[in-house]
Every structure is written in structure tokens, then in C-alpha cells.
Symmetry: C2
Subunit: 203 residues, 2 copies
DNA sequence: TGATGATTCATACAAGCGTTTGAAACGATC
DNA sequence: GATCGTTTCAAACGCTTGTATGAATCATCA
């Protein structure tokens, strides 16, 4: 039964690196030290192996970099800062294998059958948490739509540093890139966002 | 000579929709009403056809939705608003075929040989323009690094609405999605960013 | 030990891929 | 109208892909 989980693990890695089409069942099996027929035996076909690996990837990531424990007295500013820090940590200083994220990003921009489950189990809970935090940082008469627009602004800033990483590197060079640590980026995004929210100028 | 440009056009479309690997030379040629061997004849191989289609795609887009003409007296606030509006227009209300953007986004997150030229000819000029605008909206002693971090925050908010479009749709539903017009999004992002910049709180 | 079900294995298959080829068709030039 | 470079074409090549198959191996329990 160990073979099955080894396949899921390696599959996520390869799919994340190369994308669905470019990844081959042969390569996955070879790296997982499993026979070529194992994919068919355990998952039926390549597509279902992919779906399983996507699901497993986001479950694992949530466990590796959990959100900090908050008490009732934790102020919303702190919550937002720590939320951003956690998300950036999952994007930039990611302790685990990087392909978890690549898999997720790929699903976001090019959704497959796995996307629905991804939104339900992983993205929506985080999104709701963020809007909840923001609701304490914006005027009480802020409409739900404006709340969500603010959440998109925060998430956009965070995701950019994963999505456009190669481009940023090409723009600023390797030396400056090194100074963009997770903490530095998180602090900037939190400052930028809190400043925007504090002004109360939301159209 | 018409065949060559027809191939580039169709290739961009197919590559944008399906990605490099999943797109087939056969499908491209069929849709372009060209012989299968035409790719080899005009471009040598599939990879160079891809590079040509990426290059052509971003040249074409810049021409279709140009930046508004600014005079010396145009205030930086207006410039930022119109910059954001233009970029959002290129992302959301895009008048031309959508695959131009899909191609570009794909190159950003999974850079190939075409990425270098993309940054040099298309992304860097826009990035420099944005930082130039921001430099007039931030304290004069702001470091270049903080200037760039602010630029990333603005770009991140803009790109998010293209990248995460399927996820946003799943999160808010089709009805609310319709209210997210280009103008609405651009106004929110401009307000959010100008508010953040105005506070002068940049770490 | 021997039988049974689960797992692994080497091998094969058909289909699709990018690419190549050499001849046919075309168009301009003299 | 013959010639020559350019462009098109049908056909095939060699290779890789995902998947299927049936035998071999293993583990478990009577």
C-alpha cells in the first residue's frame, strides 16, 4: 500500500514542475520506483492520479504552515499581519517542496476537474477568513462587495510574488532579489494594505 | 507569405488555450489551413513557432489598448488611475482575442526562452513607467527598492483579476461577477493604492 | 504446506506526436 | 515558353505516449 502514496507524492512533484501534459506516467513511475502499470492499477488512469495529487498537495500544505493561534483579544491588525505572513511564508519561504504551490497556481489559472474541490476545501475557507478580518478593519457600513474587492487586493499582492517570481528576478536582478525575504515582503504588503484600509477611501 | 502570419496567429490562439505541450502542430496547421509541413518550412520547429507567436501577441496587444496620451501637466494621480485602467482594460474588457493574455501569463509563471524577450520588450517598459509614476506619489526620499515593492503591489492587484478569474467566479458566483466591470475594478485598485501611498507608511 | 487474493512485473499495443522527405504546383524573370 | 527559386503537398518516419494484458511474485491464513 506504500506504492500508492509514493506515486501520489512523486506525481505532485512532476505535475507541479512540468504541467499535466508534459509530465509522463513513465517518469513518475520511475521516480517513485514503481512499475509502469502501477498507475493504471491504483488510479485507473493518469487524469485521476493528477486529481489525487492536487488534493493531497493542498491538504499537506495547510498542515505544514498553519495559521497562528489567535485569541478573542487578538486585534484585527495583528490578525491581518499574521495572515499575510503565513500566506507569504507558504509562497516564498516555503519549507516543504515547492511543487505544492506550483500545482495550486496552475489549477487556479487553468482549472481542471480538481479545481472545484480546491476552492471548496482550501481557497474558500482562507478567503472567508480574510474577509472576516477585513470587516473589522473597514467601516461597518462597508458592503460585502467592497469587502471582497479589498480581499482580492490583498490576495493579489501576495500571489504576485509567487506567480511573477521569474519576471521579478529578471526585473531587479539576483542581488536585489535576495533582499526580498518573506518577512520583508509580508511587512510591505501588510503596511500597504493597512494604510489603504485605514484611510477609509473605498469606492 | 500569408501562410506564415496565419500560422503565427492560429498558433498563439492554440498555445494560449492549451499550453505548449497540449497544443499540436497538426491542429494549428489545420486551423490555419496550412499543410502540416508548413511549420517546419517557415519556423524550423514547434518551439520557434511558439516564440514567434508570443512575441507577436504582446506587440499586438500594446497597439490595441494604448496608454492615454499624457501632457507635462497631467498629475501623477491621474496617470496612475489611467495606467491601472489601461492595464485592467487589457486584462478584463480585452477587446481582442483573449489568448494573447493567456500566452503572456503562461510565460510569466512558466518562463521559456521567449520570456527574456517578453520582459525586455514589454514588461520592463511598463514596469519602469509605473515606478516613475509612483515616484511622484511617494516621499522623495523613498528608496528604489520601496518604489519597486509598491509597484509590485499595484501590479499584483491588477494581474490577480486575470490569473484567478476562474477562482473568483467560483467564490462569488456569476451574478456578482458581472458587476466586476473593468471600470469598477480599476477604480477600486486605484483608490486602494492611492490611499496606501498617500499615508506615506512604507516600511 | 498449499491455496487465494493482492500486488508487481515485463512486455506489447495502438494512437498520436514532431519532424522529414521528395515530388508537385506555382510565379516571376528573361 | 523555358527556367529557377519559392511555396505547398501527401506520405511516411521514428519515437513517445497512455493504456492493457497475463504471467510472476508476494503475503496471508486455513
Amino acid at each position: 500500500m506504500e506504492t500508492k502514496s509514493r506515486l501520489i507524492d512523486v506525481a505532485g512533484q512532476i505535475f507541479g514542475e512540468k504541467g499535466y501534459e508534459a509530465a509522463t506516467v513513465r517518469e513518475i513511475c520511475q521516480l517513485a520506483e514503481a512499475n509502469l502499470a502501477a498507475v493504471n492499477y491504483y488510479f485507473g488512469d493518469k487524469r485521476r492520479l493528477y486529481i489525487e495529487s492536487v488534493k493531497q498537495a493542498c491538504v499537506a500544505r495547510g498542515e505544514e504552515v498553519p495559521l497562528p493561534p489567535w485569541t478573542a483579544s487578538t486585534p484585527p491588525e495583528t490578525r491581518l499581519r499574521e495572515f499575510i505572513e503565513t500566506m507569504i511564508a507558504r509562497m516564498v519561504d516555503y519549507p516543504g517542496p515547492i511543487w505544492h504551490l506550483q500545482l495550486t497556481m496552475r489549477e487556479m489559472s487553468e482549472p481542471t476537474e480538481a479545481c472545484g474541490e480546491l476552492v471548496r476545501d482550501f481557497i474558500r475557507p482562507h478567503f472567508l477568513l480574510l474577509t472576516e478580518i477585513l470587516s473589522h478593519l473597514m467601516p461597518s457600513d462597508t458592503t460585502p462587495v467592497d469587502l471582497r474587492l479589498a480581499a482580492f487586493s490583498v490576495m493579489g499582492q501576495i500571489l504576485y510574488h509567487r506567480l511573477a517570481r521569474p519576471v521579478i528576478l529578471a526585473l531587479v536582478g539576483a542581488k536585489e532579489m535576495e533582499t526580498y525575504t518573506g518577512g520583508r515582503l509580508a511587512r510591505h504588503i501588510a503596511d500597504f494594505s493597512l494604510a489603504a484600509l485605514a484611510s477609509g477611501a473605498h469606492a
